[in-house]
């Protein structure tokens, strides 16, 4: 909540006159005045803020001055692309990273563990947009295997998937590394705990001990980590959408900036913040459902 309000307030405090920014320095005074009235900028500041928040709660993010469509529609049209990208990227990262982390934990200090460790750290370190560019270079241009631009014709699932592979991989790579390391250390910690010793002393099969007793405990914290991680994925998504010329709110934001269409920029930031808060809250909720210890206290 704090984040939303502060961001909104900050954006409203734009230096200079938005009307001039939008219409350009050559606009007539009358046109600027009209725009200001239309945007509600001629009213006292507190009323502006309240008005804006009120509108937001009603799903009204204002009208786009340039295309004359409700901004909310514009943003919502682009949102699904970004969501798909982030969703697939994170899901892929989890599907690859978590098993790698477990395997590392079980073969602790073996050469496999060390190799995975180095790869994981490297994967975390590499900036995703550079990875994206290199993917394009290697897979699209040199090898001509996968498409570099756009998201594929709507309705054609196969095409859409082909267009998703490289971008999702580019963003997801960081997280494969991060999750692998995180799960590894979480698993090692859990395996050292007393109740695992107990479980073994009861003669339970090792597979049981690992998968039903240790793994669930080790993975619990990853839920929160992933929820928060969505935030960083959003940033990476912006750059990746631009590299791959994919539709999405990242590209929308960037295009709006170049066009100096700042209400749209503001709307995108707002939506992003809400999305981010929703994800972290969702992560908490899932945690509450899955972890009996949390369930009880709530």
């Amino acid at each position: 909540m704090l984040a939303v309000t502060s961001l909104v307030l900050m954006i409203r405090l734009v230096p200079g006159d938005p009307a001039t920014v939008l219409l350009g320095p050559r606009a007539t005074e009358a046109a600027k005045a009209a725009l200001r009235a239309q945007m509600g900028l001629d009213q006292p500041f507190p009323i502006q803020v309240v008005g804006f928040l009120w509108n937001v709660l009603h799903g009204d993010l204002g009208m786009d001055v340039i295309s004359r469509r409700p901004i909310a529609d514009i943003v919502m049209a682009q949102l699904p692309y970004t969501l798909t990208l982030i969703g697939v990227a994170m899901a892929g990262a989890a599907l690859i990273g978590i098993p790698l982390g477990c395997y590392s934990a079980l073969r602790r200090n073996s050469w496999v563990d060390n190799v995975i460790g180095v790869l994981a750290v490297s994967a975390i370190a590499m900036p995703s947009f550079v990875i994206a560019i290199y993917f394009v270079l290697i897979f699209s241009i040199q090898l001509n295997l996968l498409p570099a631009i756009g998201s594929g014709a709507p309705g054609n699932i196969l095409e859409q998937v082909r267009h998703l592979i490289l971008p999702a991989l580019a963003i997801g790579l960081n997280w494969v590394g991060y999750l692998a390391r995180f799960v590894r250390s979480s698993m090692i910690e859990v395996l050292g705990e007393r109740h695992i010793r107990s479980a073994r002393a009861h003669g339970l099969r090792e597979s049981r001990v690992l998968f039903s007793y240790a793994l669930p405990l080790a993975i619990l914290p990853t839920i929160t980590v992933i929820g928060v991680g969505i935030g960083s994925l959003l940033s990476a998504a912006v750059l990746t959408e631009i590299v791959f010329a994919r539709p999405g709110i990242g590209k929308l934001m960037f295009d709006s900036i170049t066009q100096r269409n700042y209400p749209v920029v503001m709307a995108v930031v707002l939506v992003t913040t809400i999305l981010f808060i929703a994800c972290t809250t969702l992560a908490d909720v899932i945690n509450g459902l899955v972890d009996p210890r949390v369930r009880q206290t709530s």
Partner: protein
């Protein structure tokens, strides 16, 4: 009943070393121990005496840097040479363990019921039967509302209740040997009394042997038939509970008895302690391991290792001066 076959646990010459960055820690040295069928044997000692090494070696959960030598025979079968899957067959069926701290011994996010049903996976019972059996067991150990408890989690139970659940889980398979590692240390004294009583009843009913590790001498006195006193990785003295408590020969045992608050008769403000600390197990001195802290130590004690004097069946003492001190 455990039936006909169980021939006891026999430990001979067990030595456990740990390879660490600072050198080799000689945690256990040449330990002999017998747990006959149906008997309760207590291991007494301060922390650091090697109790945990002993137990982890028996149950096959010694850490990776442990080097174990000697023999551990269960039912005349060597445990140390057993492959892991055979060991797993024994654990939870013929050998069970109750650990010290029930909070950390039960899986925090799995319900009690699931855990109790899980460990019955080899019994061939149907699912409903397993549940019934678990509830029966909970009833037997005195857990109230057993059916409800099955759906609860460890953190929802009190400490005493958790330990009862642990005992229930350990005895569900009617093992030949129950190893109890400080089962009441994490509980307060009123609970301790109840747990002692519980163990006594169950032992009588099931007829299993118990290897009980504790530093609560009162508990040892109440439950055990035989006692082994461990000091810094060696057996200081062993015998029947009567021998140890009423005719102890080793100076360490005597000091232990003197210092135990439960056995002190006079009301006093100052509790006696044994001066000094447990020796460094990286470098074992050539003499008696207890000599530095012993108030009747002599030259011979510091120079040579005392032999383990066999004073009768099951009666052993490792002290140069045992005979003369006994006469005194």
């Amino acid at each position: 009943m455990t039936g006909n076959a169980f021939k006891g646990l026999n430990v001979r010459g067990l030595s456990v070393d740990y390879q660490t960055a600072s050198g080799k820690v000689h945690a256990l040295r040449n330990v002999d121990l017998d747990v006959p069928a149906g008997a309760v044997v207590g291991i007494v000692g301060e922390s650091g005496c090697g109790k945990s090494s002993l137990i982890s070696s028996i149950i096959g959960q010694a850490p990776d840097n442990a080097q174990i030598s000697g023999r551990i025979d269960f039912n005349h079968q060597s445990l140390l040479e057993l492959p892991p899957d055979r060991m797993r067959d024994l654990m939870g069926q013929r050998i069970s363990v109750v650990f010290q701290d029930p909070m950390t011994s039960l899986n925090p996010i799995r319900s009690i019921g699931r855990q109790m049903i899980d460990i019955q996976y080899r019994t061939g019972r149907g699912r409903a039967e397993k549940r019934e059996y678990a509830i029966e067991m909970l009833k037997k150990v005195g857990v109230s509302d057993p059916a409800d408890r099955m759906n609860q989690y460890a953190f929802q139970l009190s400490g005493g209740m958790r330990q009862r659940v642990s005992i229930a889980m350990a005895l569900m398979a009617r093992p030949d040997l129950l190893i109890a590692d400080e089962p009441t240390t994490a509980l307060d004294t009123t609970l301790e009394v109840q747990i002692i009583r519980l163990l006594k009843e169950l032992q009588k009913e099931i007829g299993c042997s118990i290897l009980l590790v504790s530093h609560h001498l009162g508990m040892i006195a109440e439950l055990c038939d035989y006692v082994v006193v461990l000091y810094a990785g060696e057996v200081a003295e062993a015998g029947t509970v009567r021998d140890i408590f009423h005719h102890s020969l080793h100076p360490y045992t005597r000091r232990l008895l003197e210092c135990d608050p439960g056995l002190i008769e006079k009301v006093t403000r100052r509790l006696p302690t044994i001066a000094g600390e447990i020796p460094n197990l990286l470098q074992i001195s050539p003499g008696c391991i207890f000599a530095p802290r012993c108030d009747c130590a002599q030259q011979a004690c510091l120079a040579r290792r005392p032999p383990l004097l066999q004073l009768g069946p099951g009666r052993r003492v490792a002290c140069h001066r045992a005979a003369e001190l006994d006469a005194a």
